[in-house]
Amino acid sequence: MNIIVCIKQVPSLTNVQIDLETGRLKRDGVEPMINPFDEYAIEEGVRIKEKVGGKVVVITMGPPQAESALREAISRGADEAFLISDRAFGGADTLATSYTLSLAIRFIGDYDIIICGKQALDGDTAQVGPGIAEMLNIPHVACVKKIELVDDKSIRVERVMEDGYNLIESPIPTLLTVAKEINIPRMPSLRGKMFSKKAFIKILDAVTIGADTKKTGLNGSPTRVIKTFTPPPTKRNCGEKISGAAKEVAIALVERLSKLGII
């Protein structure tokens, strides 16, 4: 079973600050990390490999510094890594990113399952995973919380819904985006870290993957951010606090809720 995991390097969550003038994230000097949802994707890929054999290839599109995210993925159990990097890829929105990643995946080839985190911490769009699947013309299931069964023809997964979950079966190859319920990622082992230090990271540029640079980076991104702003805090009406002994509070609460027609 060959698994490709797509990851993104994002600014470290705890240190993110917003530039109040431009409304953008201050990225300078902020230590980068692997998008947390992508850590679940790596872990799930490694678990499938450990169960049924095969290999885990991890890819990311980004500047040369994104190599450290790939090395971390290797320390967590991935076997190979590709950095998809070219000046022509800069400034990509989700459409251009999906296009570029799908070409890189075609170039790497020979995959059964593609796994992505369900969304990135910075952009928060949740579009790239499904976008890649569309461009590769393969099925996808978003927001997977459990992989029930996997064999060489199909995969059965649970998809998180607001009020439960869907049990979905998909033929292989397929793309999954995973939710945080799916696993608890392991800590990188010392052996993994030492191995990752020596691992060779292959770089794929626009020419190698045969990308039409009109469709990559800023050129290929119809999305334009016109303005970003932090809305001023709005004044809300205060709620009502019901206090007293538990029994009285319960009675008062039921009365209020029935009056409002909620129960």
Binding site: M187, S189, L190, K193, M194
Partner: protein
């Protein structure tokens, strides 16, 4: 800022990995294990998963070949959080050392990879009820009969005893020959005639098991002999030369943990309208603690590097110096940490109470501070004597 000891990139990885395991896995459970005195198997599994058992074991046996320094860095980092749970790892190193030092290729291949992976933990059995500082006074015997040795006797105060799977045991093969009559053997849990006695209740390091080992006509094949007959005490001494920096690292880790707690507390605790860190009496205590810890670290790392360089034939003096100084500093620093906490320091809810209890053992086992001084003085005088020839 921290002092720069020029750790290699791989050594920094060791420190970072150990730190993550210590803070994420060990810290939430340290009070539990101290209270319950249970062997911390679930944490041992985390050490194994992170490959922390493998640092000092040579690469050909599944380790990383990072020597005594590799062991020291792991133990120090873990002990900053807990000096008792970490002992499962440090005592395994002591148990494995005789195999590393004196084992033949077959013995090394059989035992070391499982120790490096953390699949099996080890223990070292030298001390007896009547033979503490004076190991030659041991009464356990190993009598050879054809291809087998039969062991009889008992070892006491054995760290990891009962929980370890692999044991390196010292016994007299020629009782009449004194120091040269002792041999070292590998024993496995489950060997017929090998059983465990009482588990000790202790002041500190309560998460670590300390048991009696009993040999009652315990018959083992001669392939279990490490080195040659009569080399036992030499093997033990060589093991201590490599393991004492491990104890020093344990002491240093505990001391550093206590200093961290003491500085944090002194900055937060307000008396007479100001944080107690603003009082010179407290400042001077903290200054002394920090300086002594840094001096201890410099001595320990220098000793570990010297041992790993392989240039010196014997390193008994240097490893004894590191152990003596670090353990005495640990005791002093933890006592002062409790002092800075005042009454709260005496309460179990605050971790310095445990740190002070855990620190004491480091001045006692693998040779008391007094034995370390004997070792240092003996080697010092020898060195001068050979120079003046």
């Amino acid at each position: 800022m921290v002092m720069d000891y020029m750790l290699s990139e791989e050594e920094q990885m060791i420190v970072k990995t150990a730190r993550t395991v210590a803070t994420e896995k060990m810290k939430p459970l340290r009070e539990y294990y101290d209270e319950k005195e249970e062997f911390p198997w679930d944490i041992v599994k985390e050490f194994a998963k992170a490959d922390l058992f493998a640092t000092y074991i040579p690469e050909e046996y599944g380790g990383f070949g990072k020597g005594v320094m590799g062991l020291v860095l792991v133990v120090e980092e873990l002990c900053k959080v807990d000096g008792a749970i970490s002992l499962s790892l440090a005592a395994t190193a002591l148990g494995a050392l005789p195999i590393l030092i004196a084992g033949n290729e077959e013995q090394k291949k059989k035992y070391l990879p499982d120790i490096a992976s953390g699949k099996k933990i080890a223990a070292f059995g030298l001390t007896e009820a009547g033979a503490g500082s004076d190991a030659t006074g041991m009464a356990t015997t190993a009598v050879k009969d054809g291809d087998y040795y039969t062991l009889n006797g008992a070892k006491c105060f054995i760290t990891n005893g009962g929980d370890a799977q692999t044991y390196t045991i010292f016994a007299k093969t020629s009782p009449s020959q004194g120091a040269r009559g002792t041999s070292c053997f590998v024993l496995e849990k489950g060997d017929p005639g090998f059983s465990f006695g009482k588990k000790e209740k202790k002041m500190g390091i309560r998460a670590s098991s300390t048991r009696e080992l009993v040999f009652n006509n315990c018959k083992i094949h001669k392939c279990r002999l490490l080195g040659r007959e009569g080399q036992g005490l030499m093997i033990a001494q060589a093991a201590f030369d490599n393991s004492r920096p491990g104890v020093a690292a344990q002491a240093l880790g505990i001391a550093t943990g206590a200093l961290n707690e003491a500085v944090d507390y002194a900055r937060k605790r307000v008396q007479f309208g100001q944080p107690i860190a603003s009082f010179q009496a407290v400042q001077h205590m903290l200054a002394e603690m920090a300086t002594e810890i840094e001096a201890a670290r410099a001595l320990l790392y220098a000793s570990a590097r010297m041992i790993d360089s392989g240039k010196a034939k014997r390193t008994s003096k240097e490893s004894a110096m590191a152990k003596l100084f670090c353990s005495e500093v640990a005791m002093k620093v933890t006592i002062n940490a409790v002092q800075i906490f005042g009454g709260y320091g005496y309460i179990k809810e605050y971790s310095v109470e445990k740190m002070m209890r855990d620190a004491k053992i480091t001045t006692l086992y693998e040779g008391t501070s007094q034995i370390q001084k004997n070792e240092i003085a003996l080697n010092l005088i020898k060195e001068y004597a050979s120079k003046s020839k």
